[in-house]
Symmetry: C2
Subunit: 270 residues, 2 copies
Amino acid sequence: MSEEKTANVVADRTRLSPAEARSLFREGLVTQTSGWSSGWTQANLLALPKDRAYDFLLFAQRNPRACPVLDVTEPGEISASIFAGDLRTDLPAYRVYENGEQVAEAAEVMAYWRDDLVCFLIGCSFTFEAALLAAGVPVRHLETGTNVPMYRTKQECRPAGALAGPMVVSMRPIPEDLVATAVRVTSRYPAVHGAPVHVGDPRALGIADLDRPDFGEPVEVRAGETPVFWACGVTPQAVVMRSRPPFAIGHAPGHMAITDARDTAYLVLP
Amino acid sequence: MSEEKTANVVADRTRLSPAEARSLFREGLVTQTSGWSSGWTQANLLALPKDRAYDFLLFAQRNPRACPVLDVTEPGEISASIFAGDLRTDLPAYRVYENGEQVAEAAEVMAYWRDDLVCFLIGCSFTFEAALLAAGVPVRHLETGTNVPMYRTKQECRPAGALAGPMVVSMRPIPEDLVATAVRVTSRYPAVHGAPVHVGDPRALGIADLDRPDFGEPVEVRAGETPVFWACGVTPQAVVMRSRPPFAIGHAPGHMAITDARDTAYLVLP
């Protein structure tokens, strides 16, 4: 599956409505979605058979920073209350797992769909990036038009039933004088991962080399910047790889579901 | 089951540790718990058989203002990660339901316990009352030493599986010049119901008479005050009464689980 740099594909991607963006993805455009449809909430996808749904919902309840659940479908449903599109085709890219092994990466998953699948839409930190920019905090991977770097950590999530695995984090390099602002701004969005889980040395999280992310693409950390880490909605896929349920479908990391919910719906305004 | 006014029973109830409070309840003290163990999070209880647990967890996800889940036990467990006591004895009072009918109100539920029960601990608005007082917002039922008034509304929750029912709210009369402060302060605690769901006319919620609450005790609304309504963790029991699962145990409204979690653990600080 080839992929062009987003910036070259759709110049006005920040202004597309969710329905317009989903239409492009349904027609076959494969791209990471950071910066797309500014003001609209983006979401991670995990689809699991119904008999695994309780374990996952409990896992999410026990790990709310990594897995803030925004919506859950009825078994077999292809839309969700915050996603009027088709969950089988309207994300830019998917990953399919059997017994925890990735068996496909694809632009749609019609052939893999099952009527017993429950879809979980999970908050994504792309959602608060517009708020970071508005507060004057630069977002490096938006500047470079690349996917955000994501890393498996050595920090274990709280298990639930048959599900266990490590927390995955996303990383943004933040100028040291803007770290406090980045914390304040993202704290206002607990449903899309909220405040950072770690500021500073990646080795404290068990990350050996920032230049080799487990998902997404690396970005430069410049002098005067500190790496800042947020819990990431790819965590459920790390859990699938570890816990090996018979079947699962996720989004390709960074290639998100663009929902019909406004960012402000998840803004805590004290 | 008789009950004395809290203020007369334990003079220093605000200063008791959670373990000390639970010990009094385990020994048989029956009291509503508003104002108890200041700084510690209070929780609603709903225990359901495991085969109903997914429906309830999904119901809670779909109704987060009424049902913010703080903790979930494994089937048969009698403690929880935020509650080191015994869930069968360490709340001041319980209600037991069979097919949606209340069959008992009791100070402990040892005789009713089942090994397949999953306990849900759900945020309680008593948690933010200390913050209201600290911000200069008076809390009438704390002044009178009575239970908070709670009302069934005409607002339906989003159903999930076999579970449906009306939202229950708690009411506090707030001086009109402090309504904004009350909103700001409680917004910071989304995990314990957060901001009010309604400010003003109770008839908009389908409440005919503030003096006749469905749960708890009435309080006076004085000149210059507005009734302010928060979603309430008694909602799950209204759902049990409507949806009639074969078996359930809840706390007696206002007679909460006092947990080992600090209020500040649920404070969103932007």
